[in-house]
């Protein structure tokens, strides 16, 4: 079965191909079922590969399948190959699993959309790219997927391209991601220049053996981190993610919460020996950026009123947590949180999509309220997602967040406090959201009065294709933590599974105070979560305290505005100057050469008079000149 892992990315590609050719003929909903089936079979292959790998001893759990040799130029040898190892299988499992659920959900959500089949074409193409990213055997194959998910993200954010805001958001995402892509490319060039290879195995091996100099490792690590910041929406490149919510909600759930945005964390984990071989301050930089992003985004989420914007900033914040973990040497915890986050954040996004669907495309939480009565299943599952992200035991998010905080405490106590405050804010704003959407007074009656012409605006529960994924994901959000429980070696399944990949670089904290008092830290985390939830209930449910939602938070600390103004003002001038230089000077030289040759040719072509005797004369003269040259050469030289 491991020899067939190339099927994992190829099956969604086949689905995309079918929808490309037959999509319109299949129509709504059959095109969606084709796409869902393609992803589901990919998931099935991944599960089979997982079980086969489980049967192998730990040191043999790395299997490369070469599809064909891609580039052979001099010493640059790149194969299009996929790598099955514990890390890529974990990634592939949750990517294909969640993709399948979200495809199923999208059949219901996109029902009646004019571009139904195109949506699933893009979605399948995205899954293919994402799987190439995680299964790639070398940096270039990963980069292929990296660019592929970026392009699909652009297509899907701008899916309703007639809406100006969607078109602008797509462009913004694409351009911001280019900055990060530049970092990845530069890292690849550097790796090839210093090691002559792009294969993960070779790079990591030489980083491990010390062949890779610390300064080169530092440069490669930092450049990859720039790429990770772009893709995983970290400061200062997070700007595109909140705007990306312009896309359809299944896209937000799949691409901008569960899978694509985690690829930066994945890349960092994949290259962990390089980070390990670089200077000591590199992980600190990563941890600080992660912690800053986590806190920064959490403060913004507190003051958002758009149901999806809250979740978007929450995603940025949780990704910050993952980078905090990577920077603290807690690679297992980062992957663990990535997986549980994928469960509960996909659940929350799909739940919000169900709400938006039921509310007839109303996204403002101030116009919701009391929806639990009309949408019981959505409300129930959303509440499970809320408990998971808020860090309430025994839900999945609690265990993964606690694992991260444990390592952070052992590494740097200042960052631990930042992490705790972020946890408090997370519990606070998520409770605020749940209360505003599902509890309190129903505010959608007056809304329907306002828009009387729209007819009946009573919210309704969604269909079973949308509710099934919600139920499955809420189940996963409850039990997801079981893969890594802090009760000793027997419960650390994920850690043992990932050990062959991250063992060398993982921080060793067993001797620290934090590890010996981990139950105390657990208790602190529980208290923090409860305080956050309680504070939110006091403010939003009981209204004992007036909510503080300053404009500066609602406007995301004005960073977005400032960046936009910078790009629109001096930035645009610089770009115009560069464009002018390109059009006038660079193109001028190129076109000038062409024009010159054309002018010379125009005068030269008159020699071709068409008179045969003129040609004959020229030939004779030429012969005479050549003969003269031969005779006179001796005399002249």
């Amino acid at each position: 079965m491991l020899d067939l892992i190339w099927l994992i990315p190829v099956l969604p590609l086949a689905g995309a191909g079918i929808n490309l050719i037959l999509g319109r003929k299949l129509g709504d909903p059959r095109a969606g079922w084709v796409a869902t089936l393609a992803t589901a079979s990919s998931f099935l292959v991944t599960v089979l590969a997982y079980f086969e790998m489980l049967g192998l001893p730990a040191e043999e759990r790395s299997h490369v399948v070469k599809m064909f040799s891609w580039i052979r130029v001099g010493s640059l040898q790149v194969d299009l190959a996929v790598l099955a190892d514990p890390l890529s299988i974990v990634m592939a499992l949750f990517v294909t699993g969640i993709s399948t659920l979200i495809h199923l959900y999208a059949i219901g959500y996109m029902h009646g959309d004019a571009k139904f089949s195109k949506f699933f074409l893009y979605l399948n193409l995205f899954v293919f790219s994402m799987l190439m990213l995680v299964l790639g055997e070398n940096l270039l194959v990963t980069f292929l997927g990296w660019e592929g998910v970026g392009a699909c993200s652009y297509f899907l954010i701008s899916f309703w391209q007639t809406r100006n805001s969607a078109a602008v958001a797509g462009k913004k995402a694409f351009v911001t991601n280019r900055i990060g892509d530049f970092g990845v490319m530069a890292a690849m060039f550097l790796a090839f220049n210093s090691l002559g290879t792009l294969s993960y195995h070779a790079i990591n091996e030489s980083a491990h053996s010390g062949e890779l100099a610390a300064v080169t490792a530092t440069a490669i690590g930092l450049l990859l981190f720039v790429g990770a910041c772009g893709k995983s929406a970290q400061l200062p490149l997070y700007l595109w993610l909140p705007d990306a919510m312009e896309g359809p909600t299944p896209v937000s759930a799949l691409i901008h919460a569960a899978t694509m945005v985690t690829s930066g964390v994945f890349l960092m984990t994949r290259m962990n020996p390089v980070l390990h071989a670089s200077y000591d301050w590199v992980p600190t930089v990563i941890a600080v950026v992660g912690a800053a992003t986590a806190l920064y985004a959490a403060t913004i989420a507190v003051a958002q009123n758009d149901i999806k914007k809250v979740l978007a900033y929450s995603t940025v914040s949780q990704l910050g947590y993952m980078f905090l973990a990577v920077g603290s040497g807690a690679y297992v915890a980062a992957i663990f949180h990535m997986v549980t986050h994928a469960f509960f954040k996909a659940l929350l996004f799909l739940g919000s999509g169900s709400v938006i669907h039921g509310m007839h495309h109303e996204q403002d939480m101030r116009r919701m309220g009391a929806l639990r009565k009309v949408m019981p299943v959505t409300a129930f599952t959303f509440i499970i997602g809320w408990l998971a992200i808020a860090g309430v035991p025994p839900f999945a998010g609690f265990w993964s967040k606690d694992e991260i905080l444990l390592y952070v405490y052992a590494n740097n106590r200042g960052l631990y406090v930042v992490g705790l405050i972020t946890g408090l804010l997370t519990a606070f704003y998520m409770t605020r959201q749940v209360i505003m959407v599902f509890y309190g007074k129903a505010k959608w009656n007056d809304h329907s009065a306002e828009h009387g012409s729209h007819g009946d605006l009573t919210p309704h529960e969604s269909s079973w294709v949308m509710l099934t994924p919600l139920v499955v994901l809420s189940g996963l959000s409850i039990v997801g933590g079981a893969m890594q429980l802090p009760f000793g070696k027997d419960f650390n399944f994920l850690e043992r599974w990932l050990a062959p990949v991250v063992e060398e670089s993982e921080a060793h904290i067993h001797e620290t105070w934090a590890y010996q008092n981990k139950y105390l830290l657990l208790a602190v985390a529980i208290v923090v979560a409860i305080v956050g939830i309680a504070a939110s209930i006091v403010v939003y449910a009981k209204s004992w305290v007036k909510p503080i939602e300053p404009k500066v938070l609602e406007q995301a600390w004005y960073y977005d505005n400032a960046a936009s103004r910078l790009i629109a003002g001096p930035g645009a001038k610089t770009f115009n100057l560069i464009a002018w230089i390109d059009a006038t000077i660079v193109d001028g030289i190129v076109n000038g050469v062409g024009k010159l040759i054309r002018n010379i040719a125009t005068s030269l072509r008159r020699v071709q008079s068409g008179f045969v005797r003129a040609y004959a004369l020229l030939i004779s003269l030429g012969a005479v000149v050549i003969l003269a040259w031969f005779f006179l050469r001796g005399a002249l030289l």
Binding site: R605, R606, V607, Q608, G610, F611, V612, R613, A616, S620
Partner: protein, 106 residues
């Protein structure tokens, strides 16, 4: 003196060859009738043939004579093609000079 004059040497043939070649070249350049130009080209070819044969005998090398046969064969082929073209043109136009056929100009 007379005996010397009456015994032709290799240079006689070479001079004759050069004169014939010159006449041929001159004819190609100044005549406008395609047929006459054709004959002049034949004259040039045969002038070259003559010098080939002369030198082959002079240097006692059979290769010169061999090449003459090649030249003859090629010349024959060329005449066939060339005359074919001239006849085809003659059928379409009443009178033809080489200068009238100047359509293929740059």
């Amino acid at each position: 003196m007379i005996g010397f004059a009456l015994a032709p040497t290799a240079s006689w043939y070479l001079v004759l060859s050069a004169v014939l070649f010159g006449i041929g070249t001159f004819g190609v350049l100044i005549r406008r009738n395609p047929l006459v130009m054709f004959m002049c080209i034949e004259l040039m070819l045969n002038a070259v043939n003559l010098s080939f044969v002369t030198l082959a005998r002079q240097l006692n090398d059979i290769n010169g004579q061999t090449i003459v046969f090649f030249v003859m064969v090629v010349a024959a082929a060329e005449v066939v093609v060339g005359l074919g073209i001239i006849v085809a043109i003659m059928r379409n136009r009443s009178s033809v000079t080489a200068d009238d056929l100047a359509e293929l100009k740059g």
